[in-house]
């Protein structure tokens, strides 16, 4: 049955989703090398684990938004998908800005060794 009111749906969904979205957005861009600090539970102790790598993709919206971080461990590519709004991510630090021209860096998966390097980007210029 068609509703007569103008799309009440979207607003209600936003109300719900806003409760699960982190207050401070994680600031980074595609191609950045980042340290992701995640809280993990070992027994009943909590400790912080760091995962360092290049952000190669970002997808989804709202509570489902997530990003992929890729790094090389012992010559083997490892990718981890982090939910953007997970409270388990305590901190995200940008180590290095990479200069890239696309939103998805899946081409890095086909590269080995030196070829995986990205050109470093200068920090954003201030508007004069």
């Amino acid at each position: 049955m068609a509703e007569t009111k103008k799309e009440p749906k979207k607003d209600l969904m936003k109300l719900v989703e806003n409760s699960s979205i982190r207050a401070e957005r994680l600031e980074f861009e595609i191609g950045d090398t980042v340290d992701v600090h995640t809280r993990i539970l070992e027994g009943d102790k909590e400790r912080i684990q760091k995962f360092t790598g290049v952000v190669i993709a970002r997808r989804g919206s709202g509570t489902r938004e997530n990003f992929i971080v890729r790094r090389i461990v012992n010559g083997e590519g490892v990718e981890r998908i982090f939910p953007m709004n997970s409270p388990k991510i305590s901190k995200l630090e940008v180590v290095r800005h990479g200069q890239v021209r696309r939103a998805k860096l899946f081409f890095l998966r086909d590269r080995l060794g030196k070829a995986t390097r990205l050109v470093e980007r200068r920090p954003a210029r201030k508007q004069a």
Binding site: M1, L12, M13, L15, V16, E17, S20, G62, R64, P83
Partner: protein, 235 residues
Amino acid sequence: MAVGLLGRKVGMTQVTDETGRSVPVTVIEAGPCTVLQIRTMARDGYEAVQMGFRDKPRRLAIRAERGHVAVLSSKRSKAKAEAKIEPVAKANCEPQRYVREFRTDAKDQPVEVGAKLTVELFKDVPALDVIGMIKGRGTAGAMKAHGFHGLSASHGVQRAHRSQGSVGSHAADRGHSGKIKKGKLMSTRWGNERVTIRNLKLVRIDAENNLLLVRGAIPGPNGGYVMVRKANKLK
């Protein structure tokens, strides 16, 4: 059985719980619902509470619907007044779009006609049952409609991978007629029927916006109307 609420399925999303895990939830906009009528054993032969959800524009409501929720002057009502027949209690609200009844019994908290029920009703309730109409699928094959496994993907099966297979033999239980057994499950029209999903965990109540968040999926399309009640077969 207790009184529940009527509502509308808003859609699905995910929220994080206190431990930081993502929970898949369905958002239901439930209530406020107006009690329209009380069914009693003496008058109707059964006990129930009739409720309405969402005002219906008056241009869409027929006179009977308006007369059901408020007192309308009519020849009949005047005749009844003259005969000193006590008028039935009315809710005095707008005509309602979605009207359903919840069966009740003596153990339940009594409610009055005209009362407004909100999601506060489900405070401290661990789980809910949701009743709605599932989406119609039209003519569906035996695999979708009845959960048949179909035929093999390989081993020489040709163009019949989703088929139901054999439907009977020459002598299958019906003498030598060669007819198929009655009630044999085949492809059929499926969906668009009333379904109850039981024991959906109540994740959150948003009293301000009349929202209920239940874990998991509920029947029907987004925007479809549903009945919500406290789970009556709690696990």
